[in-house]
């Protein structure tokens, strides 16, 4: 029983890594007032670019770097469209997802080696393996914390860091002001445009890093639709976390946990058809959203930055 729990927790944490990274990233972006629904596309491109780099160079760290840059570049498109061109943020994000999915699928059939007909599917590349910390990893249940890959350790550190940055530093204060009330922030000498660009790009980098964890550690290799809607689940997790990075970890663990249970049930054999098990994360997302929206309405608390998804312009007359 203890072994089962330990194993479920181990998988939970690992499955949650990509979600944590992306959730923290999207919280940064949304705190600046920009809603980026391009997560699924950026995660896919992050996973793809990381795998391709690792496969050809053999360096997983270079792969991480490339994924981060690719995510940043994609987010920069979104920033340009929504901040400078004041495009509709929902539609811009959706098109980023469509573009990212299309491009990842195209490149996945093009960038592979000739002997594989250009396909990346089925190739084995270098990956981040779990690092087992002696002694600690032998602890019952808690040992799960100490048999993760290095990327997981790093990404979970982002949670307290992001919380501290957002609530305790000058930059975090200014960032929150831009998302709450860009007009005031502007009048107070904070560069709204720069802030929105910066955190949209930073957010994209972290989202893409989450994708890289999928193809380098969680399910090493490339598969079409490797993200399986995780990008979208992250959009829900941000709401669930009420835009507070500290709470991002709860959501990520909840959904990582669903993944883990699903995995165990499927591996262990069960009467429940696989399709219904696979529906769980999506149905739970809906239930969680309903619950949190209801709770927000009852308690009259609104977690969303007040200026979220509204474009800002100064000289309007």
């Amino acid at each position: 029983m203890i072994d089962l729990l330990t194993s479920i927790l181990t998988i939970t944490l690992r499955a949650g890594t990509s979600l944590v990274s992306a959730t923290v990233g999207e919280i940064y972006t949304e705190r600046s007032g920009i809603l980026n629904l391009g997560l699924e596309g950026m995660m896919l491109m992050g996973a793809l670019s990381a795998f391709v780099t690792a496969y050809y160079t053999g360096s997983t760290w270079l792969a991480v770097l490339v994924a981060i840059l690719v995510g940043g570049a994609m987010a920069a498109i979104h920033a340009f469209l929504t901040v400078t061109m004041r495009a509709n943020q929902v539609v811009s994000g959706l098109s980023l997802t469509l573009f990212g999915s299309g491009l990842a699928s195209f490149l996945g059939q093009r960038l592979g080696p000739p002997e594989n007909n250009g396909y990346l599917v089925g190739l084995v590349g270098p990956k981040f393996s779990a690092i087992t910390i002696p002694v600690l990893s032998d602890l019952p249940v808690l040992g799960a914390l100490f048999r993760q890959d290095i990327l997981t350790y790093i990404i979970y550190l982002f949670v307290p860091l992001a919380w501290f940055y957002l609530y305790k530093t000058r930059n975090g204060l200014n960032l929150r002001a831009v998302g709450e009330d860009p007009q005031t922030a502007d009048a107070m000498g904070i560069d709204v445009f720069k802030t929105r660009y910066l955190y949209t790009i930073l957010g994209g980098m972290l989202v893409s890093l989450g994708g890289a964890h999928l193809s380098l550690a969680y399910t090493p290799g490339w598969a079409e639709n490797i993200t399986g809607g995780r990008g979208w689940i992250v959009v829900a997790l941000v709401i669930f976390a009420m835009w507070n990075p500290a709470r991002a970890i709860l959501g990520a663990i909840l959904f990582g946990g669903i993944n883990a249970v699903q995995f165990r049930l499927q591996a262990g054999g069960t009467n429940i058809p696989a399709a219904f098990l696979n529906m769980m994360p999506y149905l739970v997302t809906i239930l969680v959203l309903v619950a949190i929206t209801w709770w927000e309405a009852l308690s009259k608390r609104i977690g969303a930055p007040a200026a979220l998804s509204k474009s800002y312009m100064r000289e309007e007359k």
């Binding site: 305790k168 530093t169 000058r170 930059n171 204060l173 200014n174 929150r176 002001a177 709450e180 009330d181 007009q183 005031t184 922030a185 502007d186 009048a187 107070m188 000498g189 904070i190 560069d191 009259k300 007040a306 100064r314 000289e315 007359k317």
Partner: protein, 510 residues
């Protein structure tokens, strides 16, 4: 430099400032000088270009032409950060405060010379120190949304002094204050001037120019039309320069002939958006052929009062009756069907649909009935004819009836709303701040229209923060304070002093 020389050298000079907005010349070759230790009043109607000029000074807008000198040095102010570095700070008409943040957080927002991790205790200590020095009581740990409007203004002032602003710009700061609070503001400003700071005071009220300023500059349609020493001018002279013609301070008003009772509120209570009590047992009546003015500092329940009457907000207690019929917690549509019209305070956000045509906006009340619509189908030709008729009758300046209404000026948008609401009204008009932000011509038109409705036998509820408007339009004036009725006085017997006391929550013994 001797004291006398310092006085002679302007701390701030603007030269030949010109600023275009599409279709408008907001500032045309405007000059300005400000001397240390003095207050300069910038007087002008709404739309005269005062705020634009000051937004240029704080780096929010860029001038097309012109130069700015601060302490004798030519400067380029490209952002509010540049302005702050030069010691220029502004209190905007709509306060620049983040409601979900604390007072202390708002005060240090965007401040450059702070450590990466600011010591909030240290910040709060300094805020307390400054608030004692200027007698500006406010709790640095309170959230902005918890504060009254008056307290929020104190935060704005603290923000400026915390940043070491030497040149203070105040954009219509008294609009949200009771007359007594305005005097308090004058006192604080005097203290600051003795420290060598100076201020520019934007206003369209003559009395304030006389009370606050040393110098006054009058803007009209973007142009500087007069520079006067305050002591050497008079309100009448200033008013004439501001408007460019003789001003009628009084509207022709016929004697009130009250008819049957149209609206009655009995002991009504209601909550605001945060769920806090906003109306606490309000009772009132309005008869046909009568204007009831609602006075009070903004945020004392006016909005909730208007929304309770128009069905947009639920009452938690009490009754609403229209012509004796129980209308408590009826839907907006049912209230509209009773002939109630509403001119909302937020005309762009609530009153119109900006992206739809002027004609569409004009029929947004009438589309439910023939001849505009029948059996769920609309008749475009009838709609256009109807719109043309209203455009003509209310003199709405629009290129075509198909123009999207957001491209119209504020005054014409308001006229369109009035046209639609008056046309649909048969009984009661609720008008919230109907002339706010309009120029003198449009203001006069709006007031005349409301009086005409009264003379036609309709009941009018006029919510206004402008006492002069209430004196000239209303028959009786009701004062709201913290959701309670402080008193009702006939307009003919009302005076600023006693209304001011009631607006501050001091009940009159009468």
């Amino acid at each position: 430099m001797t004291a006398e020389e310092t006085l002679k050298t302007p701390i701030l000079e603007m030269h030949g400032i010109t600023k275009h907005f599409p279709g408008v010349l907001a500032n045309d070759q405007v000059d300005l000088q400000l001397y240390p230790g003095e207050i300069l009043a910038l007087l002008g109607e709404n739309g005269a270009g005062k705020s634009t000029l000051m937004n240029i000074l704080v780096g929010l807008y860029r001038p097309d032409k012109g130069e700015i000198f601060v302490r004798g040095q030519r400067v380029e102010i490209d952002s509010p950060r540049d302005a702050a570095a030069l010691g220029i700070g502004m209190i905007h008409q709509n306060f620049m405060l983040v409601p979900t943040m604390t007072v202390a957080e708002n005060i240090i927002l965007g401040v450059q010379d702070l450590p990466f991790v600011p010591n909030m205790e240290e910040v709060c200590r300094r805020v307390r120190e400054l608030s004692e020095r200027y007698n500006l009581q406010v709790d640095p740990d309170a959230y902005i949304w918890q504060l009254s409007v008056g307290e929020q203004q104190r935060v704005e002032i603290l923000k400026l002094v915390y940043r070491g602003a030497e040149i203070l710009i105040l954009d219509e700061p008294t609009a949200v204050l009771t007359p007594q609070e305005s005097q308090e503001l004058a006192r604080i400003l005097k203290v600051m001037l003795t420290e060598g700071k100076s201020a520019i005071f934007i206003t369209h009220k003559m009395e304030e120019v006389m009370e606050f300023s040393d110098w006054v500059r009058v803007l009209r349609q973007g142009k500087l039309v007069a520079i006067e020493k305050t002591a050497e001018t008079s309100p009448q002279e200033l008013a004439q320069m501001m408007v460019g013609r003789e001003v009628l301070f009084h509207l022709e008003k016929q004697a009130c002939v009250p008819g049957a009772e149209v609206l009655e509120l009995r002991n009504v209570a209601s909550n605001d958006d945060k769920g806090l009590p906003a109306l606490k047992g309000v009772s009132l009546t309005i008869c046909g052929g009568e204007v009831l003015g609602i006075a009070g500092v903004a945020g004392n329940g006016q909005r909730e009062l208007a929304e309770v009457v128009t069905g947009l907000r639920k009452v938690t207690q009490g009754e609403v009756l229209i012509r004796g019929k129980a209308m408590t917690n009826k839907s907006p549509l049912e209230v509209i069907r009773e002939g109630v019209s509403y001119i909302p305070a937020d005309r762009i956000g609530v009153g119109v649909v900006g992206n739809m045509a002027v004609a569409d906006n004009l029929v947004m009340k009438g589309y439910r009935q023939a001849p505009l619509g029948e059996g769920g189908v609309l008749h475009p030709r009838q709609i256009l004819a109807f719109a043309r008729q209203l455009i003509e009758a209310f003199r709405i300046a629009t290129p075509t009836p198909q123009t999207r209404i957001k491209f119209l000026s504020g005054g014409n948008i308001q006229k369109a709303i009035l046209a639609r609401e008056i046309d649909a009204c048969h009984g009661l008009i609720v008008a919230a701040y109907p002339s706010r932000g309009l120029d003198v011509g449009a203001t006069e038109a709006v007031r005349k229209l409301l009086l005409k409705q009264r003379d036609d036998g309709k009941a009018v509820m006029l919510i206004s923060e402008d006492l002069e408007e209430l004196f000239s339009v209303a028959d009786r004036i009701l004062v709201l304070f913290e959701g309670q009725v402080m008193g009702v006085v006939p307009a003919a017997e009302a005076d600023t002093e006693s209304l001011g006391l009631m607006m501050a929550g001091i009940r009159q013994a009468s």
